[in-house]
């Protein structure tokens, strides 16, 4: 009789604990959904291309003798200290930061890259001194990337990263 009662009490406690566990889990889930990050949902395009950046990049390359200078640097030494022509460099420094308002921009990189080499600053043939070419800067939701092949071994690359 006693044994039977103990068994019944044990079973009831198990059911109560199970019920409380279910209710607690549900309440937590409902609370997370209610106050969670789903309330203000903004839809943003993903992808690494931006039409206006591409247009500006093409416009930049067509300005004066930029394309001629960039294209003819086949024999560039593999030295990041070698810069693009000063006038071309100044032009780029003036164009790309104004595409987005200043406080939105996080990072810009423009330069010529050796396509036969793996990623890294050692691959940089020539660059505009905005900053280092860093893989760390090619992550995140809002970075735009464009490149144009110059020859078999190199391409000119533009990376613009916007604050998230």
């Amino acid at each position: 009789m006693f044994n039977n009662r103990k068994a019944q009490v044990g079973e009831t406690v198990t059911w109560m604990v199970a019920t409380i566990a279910i209710v607690v889990i549900l309440v937590i889930s409902v609370l997370i959904v209610s106050i969670g990050p789903f309330k203000n949902r903004e839809f943003r395009e993903s992808g690494t291309s931006d039409l206006l950046i591409t247009k500006s990049f093409t416009g930049y390359l067509l300005t004066d003798d930029v394309w001629e200078n960039v294209k003819d640097k086949k024999g560039f030494p593999r030295d990041p200290k070698v810069k693009l022509e000063q006038s071309n460099m100044d032009l780029a420094i003036n164009i790309f930061p104004v595409l987005y308002s200043g406080n939105e921009l996080n990072y810009i990189w423009l330069g010529i890259v050796d396509s036969t080499c793996k990623f890294g600053s050692g691959c940089v043939v020539s660059q505009i001194p905005f900053g280092e070419r860093n893989k760390r800067n090619l992550v995140g939701k809002r970075f735009f990337y464009d490149n144009i092949k110059l020859n078999e071994n190199s391409f000119i690359e533009l990376v613009i990263k916007i604050k998230e």
Binding site: W15, T19, I22, V23, L26, S29, V30, V33, S34, F38, K39, N40, R41, E42, F43, R44, E45, L51, L52, I53, K55, S56, F57, T58, G59, Y60, L61, L62, T63, D90, L91, N94, I95, V98, L99, Y100, S101, G102
Partner: protein
């Protein structure tokens, strides 16, 4: 006696299971409604699409398109013809008072490129081209999701080998369906 007792326990357990099932189902339905019931705010994307459409209409391959600026240096795109020339349609669905109040606005400004200015903008080249509900501009400096979304983008372009910055401001209202 024992059998009767067991039947009673089974009934209680069945009711208990139904109650639990109902609570779980109700919680799942509530969460689904909360999750999917909140609208996505797509206005920024819409404004960017409008900017891209206008930019594509004006320039190609880094240069201004033929027919955008005439021989006298005047803009061929006017407030009256820009919507049709750029294949834009500002008609919206018949929702609330959207038909009475236009939900879109954009303006295009051409500036000479000035490398000494911090924003690259020199003197204005031609008059602004605008279309849509001009009143929406008033809300651009207001912050908050209940106001129209304003997006402003610049791009660099060559007009007969001379560098220009084209500034496009695009505004989308449609607050009722996005907030």
């Amino acid at each position: 006696m024992k059998r009767l007792n067991k039947r009673g326990t089974d009934k209680i357990i069945s009711v208990y299971w139904f109650v639990i099932l109902f609570i779980v189902a109700a919680a799942i339905v509530y969460m689904a409604v909360v999750f999917y019931g909140e609208p996505y705010d797509v206005r920024e994307t819409e404004a960017n699409i409008m900017i891209n459409q206008i930019a594509d209409c004006i320039s190609q391959g880094g240069e201004i398109k033929d027919g955008v600026i005439n021989e006298e240096g005047k803009l061929e795109l006017t407030n009256e013809n820009i919507l049709s020339k750029c294949h834009l349609d500002f008609n919206v669905e018949d929702f609330k008072d959207w038909k009475k109040q236009e939900q879109f606005y954009f303006e295009i400004n051409f500036y000479k490129f000035n490398k000494d200015a911090p924003d690259g903008l020199g003197s204005k080249f031609v008059n602004d081209t605008i279309a849509g509900n001009m009143n929406l501009k008033e809300y651009c400096d207001k912050k908050g999701k209940n106001f129209p979304v304003c997006v402003e983008r610049n791009f660099y372009v060559l007009v007969k080998e001379n560098p220009y910055i084209i500034k496009i401001k695009s505004i989308v209202r449609k607050t009722e369906k996005n907030v």
